[in-house]
Amino acid sequence: MRNTIDPKVIMAAAKGDRQAFRQVVEAHQGFVYSVAFRFVNNGADAEEITQDVFVKLWKQLHTYRLDVKLTTWLYTIVTNTSLDFLKSRYGKELKQTTSLDKGKFLYAQNPTPEEEIQHVELNQIVHEVAAQLTPKQRAVFILRDLEGLTPQEVAKSLGMSLGNVKSNLFYARQKVIARLDVYYKCKQEPISNEL
C-alpha cells in the first residue's frame, strides 16, 4: 500500500491537531476517492463518500493504534462506506440510471483520444458487471484488480481469509471476463465483415 505518512503526524491528528489531520487528508484523499469512484462510477458521489470517510476517520482517530496501517484502516472504511452508499435508496436509484458524470482520470501515459474513449467504454462495461456482483465479490475485485492491492492487503482490509479472497476473486473475474469477451467479439465482428 502507498501514501505513507509520518506516524507522529497521525498521532498529532489523533490528539485533535487539525493541521496534522489536514496533512493526513492530503496524503490519502487520492486513493480514497479512487476506490469510491470504482464503486459508484460517478465523480460527485465519489467526492461525497470521500468526505464521509474522512469525517468517520476524524471521529475514530483517537482509537488508532500504530500497529495497524492507516491505509488498511482507510481501505476498510471506504469499502464499507461505498457499499452502504450503494445499499441506500439513492444508491439503488443510481444503479438503474447511467450517470453523465464520468469523472476525471490520471493516465500513466498520455493517451490518444481513441485510447481515452476506449478506456471510458471499458470502464463503463467493467462497472456494469461489477454492479451485478455480490458486495464481497465486488469489494475484492475492485481492491485487487482495479486498485492493485496484494491478496494479503485485500484480506486484511476486508477481514477475510486468503482462501475467501481467492474464491470471491474467481467468481468476480469469471463474470467480468465473460462480459469482456462478448464486448471484444462485438468489436471485432464489424472489422472482419469489412475485410
Binding site: K15, G16, F105, V126, R173
Partner: protein, 185 residues
C-alpha cells in the same frame, strides 16, 4: 488453498478444477503453481485458456493504470476539512480510556462475582436447615406454644359470654349467674 484436496503426486488433474485455478493464477501459492504448471505442460486446452485469461487481465490492468482523480483536488480537501470542523471531536479522555481497558473490565467482573457469592453464602447461613435437629426442636416448641395460645383463647371466649346469654343456658355455671338465680328464687 484454492485447489481443494490436492495430492502432490496426483498428476492428472481434473481440467475443470484447474480452470478454476487459472482465474486466480497470479494469486496461487508455490505449491499450487507447481501443480497447475505441471498440468499445463500436458493440457493444450488449459494452456489456451490461460493465454485468453492473461489478455483479459491486461485489459483490466489498463483500467488499473488510469486512476480516477477528483475534479478539484485542493477543493475537495477544503470541503473535507469544513465537514470535519463542523463535527465535534472526541478528545482522548484518560479516565474514559482507563474505564475502557480490559484490566478494568475484568476486575469489575471479578468484584461483582465475589459480591454475588458473598450474598448467596450469607443467605444460606441465615436459612434454617431441615436436617438440623436443634432447628427442628425449635419449630416443634413453636407449634406447642401455638396450641397453648389456642386453648387459652377458647377458654377466654367461654368466660366472656354475656350474663343474659348465660341465663338462657342451663350449662352455664358462672358464679355471677348462680348468685343472680339465688336472689331471684
Amino acid at each position: 488453498m484454492f485447489i481443494i484436496n490436492v495430492n502432490k503426486n496426483q498428476f492428472l488433474m481434473n481440467c475443470k478444477r484447474i480452470e478454476r485455478s487459472l482465474y486466480v493464477y497470479q494469486e496461487l501459492n508455490e505449491m499450487e503453481l507447481g501443480i497447475v504448471d505441471q498440468h499445463l505442460t500436458t493440457c493444450k486446452n488449459c494452456s489456451l485458456m490461460l493465454k485468453k485469461l492473461e489478455k483479459s487481465r491486461l485489459l483490466l490492468s489498463q483500467i488499473q493504470q488510469a486512476k480516477p482523480i477528483p475534479e478539484n483536488f485542493s477543493g475537495l480537501t477544503g470541503v473535507i476539512m469544513q465537514a470535519v470542523e463542523s463535527e465535534k471531536k472526541v478528545i482522548k479522555n484518560w479516565s474514559i480510556t482507563f474505564l475502557d481497558t480490559i484490566f478494568f473490565r475484568v476486575s469489575m467482573v471479578l468484584v461483582s462475582v465475589i459480591l454475588v457469592v458473598a450474598f448467596i453464602s450469607e443467605q444460606r447461613l441465615e436459612q434454617p436447615s431441615m436436617s438440623d435437629s436443634s432447628q427442628t426442636a425449635e419449630v416443634y416448641l413453636n407449634a406447642s406454644l401455638k396450641r397453648k395460645d389456642w386453648n387459652y383463647n377458647s377458654r377466654r371466649q367461654a368466660k366472656g359470654k354475656s350474663l343474659y346469654a348465660c341465663l338462657n343456658e342451663k350449662s352455664c355455671t358462672s358464679a355471677k349467674v348462680l348468685k343472680y338465680k339465688k336472689v331471684r328464687i
